[in-house]
Symmetry: C2
Subunit: 227 residues, 2 copies
DNA sequence: CTGTGCATTTCTACAGTGTAGAAATGGCGG
DNA sequence: CCGCCATTTCTACACTGTAGAAATGCACAG
């Protein structure tokens, strides 16, 4: 019962290996939980192996490499996005989908940034893309522009979420406001005047405003259809 | 004159150390060049030490740690942004600043993503922020909304650039279009119809369209001033 | 000229990483 | 029972960031 004996026993137990159905989606789920606990810097295949209860290399057998595992984690995240009904006006459908992204980002702040690096490959979220395109069509976006607008929308939404996660979107600290107010008045009149209002900044409001701007931009299109 | 003698000489030269003014900005410039050559994954303090010609730890002496060095690299990047004159309409000022970001991103694709992670701390690009706020004021954005709109604008622009760098914004491959066209017609009518136009997608056009949407959104504001 | 302090650079060492390649395991069809 | 083979484990290697101690050489006091 000594600790060394226990260790030996554990090693013995692990030595008896062989196929045991290490399910891919369970690995990925555990990986997402782990990266949320320890951050991306602290996330390693070895720790994941400990958490899953197997050798690290058993995990990498199921993925091409660590990046392949990141891709799978990104896939798992977008799979969590809610479906969006088609019975609302197009503005509300876009709003709902955008807010869904933000909620996901706030819930999985360490996993979400993987979307930016790996969304391009493998993730094909066709139902949601179809929804976005229908909304854009309802908004009067001409077909030839629709792909560009759709991509711009996703890039913008994900970029906003990433900015918030990384702490770019937050109320200013008093010291920062002081720093701005110390700038020469002749060159920075507007910024100095606005500095105090940065103290009360709400990240959600930033997100909402960005959405409204985008939607208003679509409304202001030259040949849009009437609503 | 043998190579071994040269090597020995070099080692001797390196062993005789002491202060020699390792200028911070030179380290950072070299670091940016290096990361552009080898990518972020291949970038290490040791390689940078080789490149600079000093011990790796001599570099980390000037920065808190590797992340501190990344921050300095991000600072160096935003310092490369061009100033924007104030003699154009506000739309053109925003457009110019946005295009400047994109040009920077395309020129330094491996360094630019650092902005997303480290822009929040330390980088205070006050002249440009003043410019953006003046443009927003000219566009009729009320003071209380200006900080949110400004942050949303930056987050959107940087997000767009990041998306393009990471390959999200690119023409579709034929195989991808085929995959979409194989989807059930009943559920994906719009996406299927638009799929072929993804083949001709131009990343610059996506960027321009996103900008125009944002600007049109600002134009469409309730109480905007006349231009 | 001789210390001597000190910012700077170098050296050494350590704990940890991703993953290639070989070996072991154990369920399954013959 | 055997042998196959996907799967898992083990071992090893090159590499990472960086803590901590030692060395270095410049500036300046005496």
């Amino acid at each position: 019962m000594s600790s060394t004996a226990d260790a030996k026993l554990n090693i013995k137990a692990r030595v008896s290996s062989g196929p045991r159905g290490l399910a891919k989606h369970e690995i990925v789920d555990t990986a997402v939980r782990l990266i949320e606990e320890v951050g991306e810097a602290g996330f390693s295949v070895r720790k994941l192996g400990d958490r899953v209860g197997c050798d690290p290399m058993a995990i990498l057998y199921h993925f091409k490499n660590k990046d392949g595992m990141y891709r799978a984690m990104a896939d798992a995240l977008v799979a969590k996005l809610s479906p969006v009904g088609s019975d609302q006006p197009w503005q509300d459908r876009l709003r709902a989908h955008a807010r869904d992204h933000r909620a996901l980002a706030l819930r999985y702040p360490n996993t979400f940034p993987l979307l930016q690096r790996f969304l391009n490959t493998g993730v094909a979220d066709f139902p949601h893309i179809e929804m976005v395109h229908r909304a854009l069509a309802d908004a009067g976006v001409p077909d030839q522009e629709a792909p560009a607008v759709c991509l711009a929308w996703y890039a913008g939404v994900i970029g906003l979420c990433a900015a918030e996660i990384n702490g770019l979107v937050r109320p200013a600290r008093a010291s920062e406001v002081a720093e701005i107010e110390a700038l020469p008045a002749a060159e920075f009149p507007v910024l100095r005047k606005l500095a105090p209002s940065y103290l009360a900044l709400e990240s959600q409001a930033v997100f909402e405003i960005a959405n409204e701007l985008f939607i208003r931009g679509l409304c202001g299109q030259p040949g849009r259809s009437p609503d």
